[in-house]
């Protein structure tokens, strides 16, 4: 691994001499895009990060939100794309491990895991199927072994991820506010490395993540060990409660190099350390290897000499190794020694802060004509088409995936995966709702509106459980930032997310940028992922049976926005058209009104309209609750659209509400008062899902038959092709 040529000059200039080989390795790791955010940092400042509930402290790896009564939740999102693309099982598993240690480093207990997975076209591509199967298994094995529930996420397939994988993992932590670790250090404090031994695995991982994936011939593979991770969690939390930790940092990308330099820089201290003190798994590791190894399951702790004995006692109890590797100094230098010999001696601010770049950006040429639609082949039989549609990998139920995850361990999960968003019970009587969403098909057509759409969709999902969005995580995944057209899509998405966050006053509490996501066949589509945390003060909207005679109401307008829809891309194999846009005012009114009627207990179920449009949203309700319905399409508020557009447009800000007939009047009064566009579009009953226009039947599905297909098609495809 090496620095770019300009950066070597930059480093030489900053330290006034030629760097040593260890220094080069340290700086190359820390200045990589993955660790330094050199392309994106300047722009990320635009995101609103403050809010009444946000607690920010120096050196936190995760966002912290105050949920009242002396409790906090923490949240973080990470990706492990490059490692998962070459070794899906270990890559996905260690991704989970990394994000969990970020939660831990604030001093909170991890209570839930989410994941967003994206692969190539698994219907045709065997390699994509192999990646998918093993990544899911990796996440399941790791989370299940740790006893942390994996409670939600999303899965999507698109040709742009062929021979590649996007594996995003988010985690939520919970704890007492008084137990948060307030990172601090003073001269004479000691630096302790705790956890797994350092080996040669994962050397150069962060640099690897900052290069394009050209071939599989890399050695940056990390092996997961969830049992050590579990012991680390318990040991750290015990040490936290005993007040033995002054500062805490997880070892992730860049290994010791990044952890030491970032801790020192954040706390304005220096750290002197000896590589001979690091417990290693292999013999004869040289200082360079020790400094950049990305061996998993390790934490860096700053504590004082008088607390060391107690800390060692805790480590012994949990049978994990800890070694004192150095101490805190005053000089703001990162001093790495091997015995008496100095290997590196660098100012921490130089190491931890790469020179930020101003990358050029340019609107991509492909966007010129992307909104033009081509003439589509008319659909002769919508019922037949619908059967094919609900069996398609992106629409089919993801039960094969979340069925492998233990989503109940810890007994907090009150709304389980498979619904709009999952809900966790907190110790103070409140509930936390969370969801992550992405939509690369929309983002490809319009990076700004697509990103806003993901944001709104995630909000809609938590709103459907009765929660008010209180915080956001963003994960921005794009191709090579050196390409001005790619960088433009990054900036557009970021601006969109910022505007929406500001308008709705939802602070960004954490995030990640992952660039250089490209494969030999090209760049990935822009894939920003938004995670939303919502808080429910009283009770979440929980599952009730839908019975015969219950009404279904749609809130929001269906517009002519077919670009990037599953219907265009899966059924018509057409990429193009105008993608859905969010009208901020309409979005706010709809969101608040839906939240209001849910809080008032008027609705039995709420579901958002998203992928696959109204037709899929209604069918999902029917298949989940195993009841038929009759929908009158002419009653759907729309812009005089053709039948297929009413059925499959993926316009935002739309919700389906299910309620008893007796509550309809009350609901209508409330919705009218807040000037929401809505209509009653049908009634439940029978065992067929029917969509009619005027008196003509358009779609007629048997609930039983379609439910079987919807539930089983993904599993069939993965296991039996």
């Amino acid at each position: 691994m090496s620095l770019e040529s300009g950066e070597l000059d930059d480093l030489t200039l900053k330290i006034g001499r030629k760097p040593t080989s260890t220094e080069l390795q340290i700086v190359a790791a820390e200045w990589s895009e993955h660790c330094s955010y050199k392309s994106s940092k300047k722009h990320l400042k635009m995101l609103p990060m403050k809010g009444p509930l946000v607690i920010s402290e120096k050196g936190y790896d995760s966002g912290v939100l105050d949920v009242g009564d002396g409790y906090v939740i923490t949240a973080h999102i990470e990706s492990h794309n490059h490692p998962s693309a070459v070794e899906p099982y270990g890559g996905a598993a260690t991704g989970v491990g990394g994000v969990i240690r970020d939660i831990l480093s604030a001093g909170t207990r991890p209570i839930a895991i989410f994941n967003g997975l994206r692969f190539g076209d698994i219907e045709k591509d065997l390699h994509a199927r192999w990646l998918f199967k093993n990544a899911v298994k990796g996440i399941a094995d790791y989370g299940n072994c740790l006893g942390i529930p994996t409670i939600g996420g999303e899965v999507e397939f698109d040709k742009c991820y062929s021979n590649y994988a996007l594996v995003d993992v988010a985690a939520i932590g919970f704890g007492k506010k008084k137990n948060l670790i307030k990172n601090h250090a003073k001269t004479g404090d000691i630096v302790v490395l705790l956890g797994g031994a350092t080996g040669r695995d994962g050397i150069g991982g962060s640099q690897f993540a900052s290069d394009s994936l050209e071939s599989e011939n890399r050695s940056a593979v990390q092996i997961p060990d969830p049992f050590i991770e579990k012991l680390i969690i318990e040991a750290i939390l015990e040490a936290r409660t005993e007040n033995l930790i002054h500062a805490l940092k997880d070892l992730g990308g860049g290994g010791l190099s990044c952890a030491v330099s970032e801790t020192a820089d954040a706390l304005s201290i220096g750290i002197e350390m000896d590589v001979d003190k690091v417990h290693t798994r292999e013999l004869n590791m040289n200082p360079d290897e020790i400094m950049v190894s990305e061996s998993q399951e390790r934490m860096l702790i700053v504590t004082s000499n008088d607390k060391l004995k107690k800390l060692e006692g805790i480590c012994k109890k949990y049978r994990i190794t800890c070694s004192v590797i150095g101490h805190v100094t005053l000089d703001n230098m990162m001093h790495v020694k091997k015995g008496e010999k100095t290997c590196a001696n660098l100012p921490t601010d130089v190491v931890a802060n790469a020179t930020l770049l101003d990358r050029p950006s340019k609107k991509p040429a492909y966007l010129e004509n992307i909104e033009n639609e081509k003439k589509l082949k008319p659909i002769l039989d919508y019922t037949k088409m619908m059967m094919k549609f609900i069996a398609s990998p992106n629409i089919a139920s993801k039960i094969w995936v979340y069925g492998q995850y233990d989503h109940e361990v810890g007994i907090r999960t009150v709304v389980k995966p498979g619904k709009d968003a999952s809900v966790l019970r907190l110790d103070n009587g409140k509930f936390l709702s969370a969801k992550i969403d992405g939509n690369p098909k929309h983002c490809y057509i319009n990076p700004r509106e697509g990103a806003i759409g993901c944001f709104e969709e995630a909000c809609r999902n938590v709103v459907c459980t009765g929660a008010k969005p209180i915080g956001m995580l963003d994960h921005l995944q794009f191709g090579n930032p050196e390409n001005p057209e790619i960088f433009w899509t990054f900036l557009e998405s970021l601006k969109g997310i910022t505007d929406f966050a500001k308008y709705f006053e939802i602070p960004c509490v954490g995030g990640k940028v992952s660039l250089y996501n490209e494969t030999p066949s090209g760049q990935i589509k822009p894939t920003p992922i938004i995670g939303i945390l919502g808080l429910i003060d009283k009770t979440p909207l929980s599952t009730q049976n839908i019975s015969k005679g219950d009404c279904i109401v749609i809130v929001g307008q269906t517009k002519n926005e077919m670009g990037g829809s599953e219907y265009f891309e899966y059924i018509h194999k057409f990429i193009g058209g105008k993608c859905p846009t969010v009208n901020f005012l309409e979005s706010k009114i709809n969101m608040n009104s839906v939240l209001n009627v849910i809080t008032k207990g008027l609705v039995k179920a709420a579901h958002d309209c998203s992928k696959g449009g109204l037709a899929v949203a209604v069918s999902e309700l029917c298949m989940t609750y195993q009841i038929g319905c009759n929908i009158s399409l002419e009653k759907v508020p729309n812009q005089k659209l053709d039948v297929d557009r009413i059925l499959f447009s993926e316009s935002h800000s739309r919700y389906l509400l299910v309620l008893e007939k007796k509550d309809l009047k009350k609901l209508e009064t409330l919705l009218k008062k807040s000037k929401v566009e809505y209509n009653v579009i049908g009634v439940f009953g029978g065992d067929h899902i029917r969509f009619n226009k005027e008196s003509k039947n358009i779609i007629d599905l048997s609930v039983d038959k379609s439910q079987k297909i919807w539930f089983n098609s993904l599993k069939e495809l993965v296991l039996h092709g």
């Binding site: 080996g199 593979v221 060990d225 050590i228 061996s295 049978r319």
Partner: protein, 86 residues
């Protein structure tokens, strides 16, 4: 043509950690009365029964099967192939 038994041993490459082997060593073997064991490595073994003209072609055949069908991931694991007469 003769019948051969082919053992394929799949193990993590040297330098890549092996949590299973380490756990068996530390939490099982060394907890007992044995103290002479210094290392345990876990591996998976597949036993093929194959009809080929000689040992060499049996080995090549099995190697190809393992490579093509991704029976192991060459990024993480290495395989050792041993051929025996049936």
């Amino acid at each position: 043509m003769a019948i051969f038994i082919v053992h394929v041993t799949i193990e993590n490459k040297p330098g890549i950690s092996d949590p299973e082997g380490e756990t068996i060593l530390n939490d099982l073997v060394l907890k007992g009365t044995t103290s002479t064991v210094t290392k345990i490595k876990s591996a998976k073994m597949l036993q093929f029964t194959i009809k080929e003209k000689d040992k060499k072609s049996a080995k090549i055949k099995v190697q190809n099967i393992c490579d093509e069908l991704r029976i192991y991931n060459p990024m993480v694991s290495k395989i050792t192939i041993d051929v025996f007469d049936a």
